[in-house]
Point group: C2
Chain length 339, copies 2
C-alpha cells in the first residue's frame, strides 16, 4: 500500500504509535499543534516544524523569496499561537538547487528576519543542502508557555461554542485570483486577498488575550481548512460538532471571488485552507466576554460559528435553509487524492 491510499492523517496516527513514548519530559508528543516539552525550567518548551515545498505549497514564479520567508516562519508561529505559547527561536533548513540566485536566498532570509522581528523571534541556526530540482524550506520554531496557559486540541467538552478569529476563505480566494488572472476584482480587493494568501498573520496577539483570560478549553490554527481542522479537535477531545454555514465569517472580497467562481461562500470558509486563523472552544456563558476582549485588544473580529456536541451526535454543517450536511473533512490533506 502506498501513502496516497492511506492519506496524511492516518499515516501520522500510524507513526505516532511507532514512536509512542511515556516520558515525564514529554508533556505532549505527536498529534497536537506543537510538541510540549519539560526541561525542568519555569516554563514548558514548545517545538514545531512545518515546511514549504516548491510546486506543492508555492510556485517559484508565483511568490517572492521575501514573501516565502515571511510565510514559512508565520505558519509555524501560528502553531505556537494555537497552543497558547510565545515563540522565541527559529532554525531554518533549506534544500536548494544549485542554480538558485544568491539574491533569492538573501530575500528569503530577509523575509524570515522581518517576520521574526515582528514577533520577537530570533533565527539562530539552520542547515543548507543541495537538492536536485526542488526548493524545500523547513522551519523549526521553539517557544515557551506557562503550563496553565497551554491550550491543546484535547480540551473541548460537549455543549461549548466554537469560535474563530478573523475571516475564513481569504487565502483560498487569493489563490483563485492567482490561478485565474482573468477574474475581475478591484485592486484593493486583489491586494488584500493576495496578502492574506502570501503572508498570513500569525494570531499571536489574539492568542495572548485568549490565554490570559483562561476561558477557552481547546484551540487549533486553521491551516488545512475549518472542516478538516475542527475534526482534529473533535477527535482529540472526544466531541461532535455542529457548524452554522451562515455564521462563517467571509470577507466582502472573498464573497466577491466566491460569486465570480460560482462557489458558495461557506465552501471557501470551510474547505479553503491556509487562513491561519485560530479556532477555539469555550463554554457559552463566557463567549461574549472572550470575543469582546480579543476584538477590543487586537481589533480582530471573533465569531461564534458552531457548538460542540457529544461525540456520538456526529459532525454536522447546518445550511441557511436548515438542511444538515455531514461534515466531512474537505480541507487539504497531503498524499490523499481529493474525493
Amino acid at each position: 500500500m502506498d501513502i496516497s491510499e492511506l492519506g496524511e492523517f492516518l499515516l501520522i496516527d500510524r507513526l505516532a504509535r511507532i514512536v509512542a513514548v511515556e516520558r515525564s519530559d514529554v508533556v505532549v508528543g505527536i498529534g497536537d499543534d506543537v510538541a510540549v516539552l519539560d526541561n525542568g525550567g519555569a516554563e514548558l518548551i514548545l517545538a514545531k516544524v512545518d515546511s514549504q515545498v516548491e510546486d506543492v505549497h508555492f510556485l517559484r514564479s508565483g511568490i517572492s523569496p521575501h514573501q516565502l520567508g515571511r510565510r514559512a516562519l508565520a505558519i509555524n508561529l501560528s502553531d505556537i499561537a494555537a497552543s497558547g505559547g510565545r515563540p522565541r527561536w527559529a532554525l531554518v533548513s533549506l534544500a536548494l538547487p544549485t542554480d538558485i540566485e544568491v539574491a533569492w536566498v538573501d530575500g528569503l532570509y530577509q523575509g524570515l528576519c522581518e517576520e521574526g522581528n515582528r514577533f520577537g523571534v530570533a533565527v539562530v541556526g539552520g542547515n543548507m543542502a543541495r537538492s536536485s530540482q526542488t526548493i524545500f524550506v523547513d522551519v523549526f520554531v521553539l517557544g515557551q508557555a506557562c503550563r496553565e496557559d497551554l491550550l491543546l486540541r484535547s480540551g473541548a467538552h460537549p455543549g461549548e461554542r466554537v469560535l474563530v478569529t478573523g475571516h475564513l476563505g481569504d487565502s483560498t480566494a487569493g489563490l483563485s485570483l492567482l490561478l485565474d488572472p482573468a477574474l475581475s476584482v478591484g485592486d484593493d480587493e486583489r491586494d488584500a486577498l493576495l496578502a492574506r494568501h502570501f503572508t498570513p498573520t500569525p494570531r499571536l496577539a489574539e492568542s495572548a488575550v485568549i490565554t490570559r483570560l483562561g476561558l477557552a478549553t481547546a484551540m487549533i490554527d486553521l491551516s488545512d481548512g475549518l472542516s478538516s481542522d475542527i475534526g482534529h479537535i473533535c477527535e482529540r477531545s472526544g466531541v461532535g460538532v455542529r457548524l452554522w454555514a451562515e455564521r462563517l465569517p467571509v470577507s466582502p472580497a472573498a464573497h466577491h471571488v466566491a460569486k465570480l467562481t460560482r462557489r458558495e461562500p461557506w465552501r471557501l470558509a470551510l474547505e479553503g485552507g491556509e487562513d491561519y486563523e485560530l479556532c477555539f472552544t469555550a463554554p457559552p456563558a463566557v463567549v461574549d466576554e472572550l470575543a469582546a476582549a480579543v476584538e477590543w485588544e487586537t481589533g480582530t473580529p471573533v465569531t461564534v460559528v458552531g457548538e460542540t456536541l457529544p461525540a456520538d451526535a456526529g459532525r454536522w454543517l447546518v445550511l441557511e435553509d436548515g438542511q444538515e450536511l455531514s461534515l466531512e473533512a474537505r480541507g487539504w490533506e497531503h498524499f490523499k487524492p481529493r474525493g
Copy 2:
C-alpha cells in the same frame, strides 16, 4: 550570481550577517555545530537541524528506510555530542512523493526510534508534506548542556594538540564499495565499512567523558571531512593548524580500499566526509590523560593528529617525507563544484 559560485560556507556566512542578533537568550547562533539557547532553566538548550536529501545524501535503492532513519537521527546527535551536550528530543519533517510505500515510512520511523532509544531521545513531533519526486528527511534535535560543559568551535588556542576519535575514512571507503561492487574485499571488511557509512555512531559516550574532564578547548564533529571541518575550528578560534598525514587513524579495512582505489590512505581520512567522529583540541600537557580516559571508558581510540598554530602561520598538512602541503578544504561542500 548563483549559489554554486558562492558555495555553501560563504553563503552561510552571508546569511549569518542578515540574521545577526544580540540577545541574551541566544548564547550561540548561526556558525557552530548547534544553536545554544537560554530559556532561564538550569541548563542551556541545544538545537540542531540536519537533512538527508534523496540523490544527494542517499539513493533510495541503496539504503534501507530503517538505515536511513537511524542515520538521519545519528548525524544530528553527533552535533549535540560535538557541543558537549546530551540529546533529548527530536522532530522529523518529511516530504514524500505519493507513491512511497507505507512500509517504507514505517521502516524509517522504526530506524529513527531505534536510534533514539539507544541514546535516550524521544521523537515528539514532526511534519508530513507531499513532494513531487524527491524524498526529504529533515531531523531537528533538541538537547541540553550545562554552561560549563559547552564545547564550541571557538575555544582553541595556538600550541594545542588536535585529537580525533575512532578511525577516519571508513565512511568514504564504504561508499567506494557501494559505487564499485567489483572492488574485492572480505565480507567482514565490507560489512564493517558499509555499517560505518550507513549507520554512523554518534560519539555521545566519548563526548560525555571529554566534557566531564573539562580539559578540551574546542570540538566539532567530522561530517564534511577533517580538512574542511578543522578549518571551522581555525576560523572560529583564530588559529592555524598543522596536521600529520601519517598520524591520521585509518582502519585496516579503509587502508585496503584505499589501495584498491589507488588513493593515499590519508586522503580518505582527510577528504572523506561522514565519519561523524569527534575532532577536539587540548593543551599538550593533558592530551595523554584525555585520550586514555576516553579509550578506557568507551573503548574508542583517540589519536593526536596535529597541532594548532598562530592564525598567521596558516594551515598545513605534513606528509611522511616532511613535505608540507597547504591544507585546503577538500571535504564536502554543498552547491560548490569540486575543484
